[in-house]
Symmetry: C2
Subunit: 245 residues, 2 copies
Amino acid sequence: MPNLKLTIEYDGTDYAGWQTQHAKHRTIQQVIEDTLHTILRQDIKLIGSGRTDAGVHALGQVANFKTVSSLPVERLKKALNALLPDDIVIRSIEEVEPSFHSRFSAKTKAYRYAILNRDHPSALLRTRVHFCPHPLDIARMKKEAFCLLGRHDFKAFQASSKREKNPVKTIKKLAIRREGDVIYFDIEADGFLYNMVRNIVGTLIEAGRGKFEKGYLKKLLLSKDRKLAGPTAPAKGLCLMKVGY
Amino acid sequence: MPNLKLTIEYDGTDYAGWQTQHAKHRTIQQVIEDTLHTILRQDIKLIGSGRTDAGVHALGQVANFKTVSSLPVERLKKALNALLPDDIVIRSIEEVEPSFHSRFSAKTKAYRYAILNRDHPSALLRTRVHFCPHPLDIARMKKEAFCLLGRHDFKAFQASSKREKNPVKTIKKLAIRREGDVIYFDIEADGFLYNMVRNIVGTLIEAGRGKFEKGYLKKLLLSKDRKLAGPTAPAKGLCLMKVGY
């Protein structure tokens, strides 16, 4: 039975995230499963690499499913893109080994967070960036962020509502750069706690505004206390760029 | 009476263009005029640098109006951005000399056209780019485009429905470049005929697909015959970048 791996781009604006508990909300997973059902006439259980929240986007979400169908993958991709709403696009489909599991096989994830940093918002980027009109000290943010690189207990950046068994993750990359009016945060890790990227960005914004004394992030990280971190940055600035296997 | 110059960004997706003849359609000009009326309690006649069609975007549209109000421009800008729908943003307001006229004073306009050139569409760029899955020969397009630079009668690229008295324009810049999956056309001229950018791009796409013999654009330009040009490229790939004064 072929095991198919999908790479998916979506605009999360009009969805209640990748997956929700409540059947009444429209989710990306549900819409793709329904479309696969229409094409393959088979109930499909799509396994995503992980959830993304309402409003979060993806350029490279990964999901897989097993099917009895022998439809060639290029034809399945064409049929999906023809039938899916245009805010969800299947970028590629490939057959993978039976043991491949989008979530358990994932080795790394890369997210990008975008902040619009100028005195007025943007009409064209309004659903893609978090608008922050306050001056931000990028050099300061980079210095503060440095302590997060490597293997740490990230409990201080975990959503207070959700607790994972293992809050220890390894951040392999954390790059901050300005391009015109937009500041990009590129963060790659072997895994993320719930809301971890948005909590890190929200805290770094506070640091960039000069709200913390120097070295605050290091103390915060060691404290493992979410209450000492900054607010959670809004969902719409976040995009899942790539899942590595 | 202060003469105020607005620089405006908008997402043209949900509008019937900058200005239309039919009162029933929602236009960008109308929405800004209505909002100015709300703030200034005065009927405002907004003069745009030129029309943009339904679906066309702008990063730097310019418009001006005269007002009896003495509200400081920074406060007016804040009030406008607070009250306008979020797909229209006022980037700046400045007081200009009484003789300034957005349309008549304009010396140059710069447009960007974006084509997504890969085998599948994009969820995140779907309202910003024209999706073209066919292989495009960029070197060929550049060679064909070269003859358009300079001062010419551009009747061959004018919408057949509209005729301007003077079809002679000067193209100062026409750059074509690929960035990942997106091909950008940057065109700057002292003015454009109706649909001229979209007709040039539509014709260059045909050239890039190898549909014309070499040197076709030069012949087309000299023919002044719209029927020999390619189709009009879709509105959503077009963005008015800057109006020069």
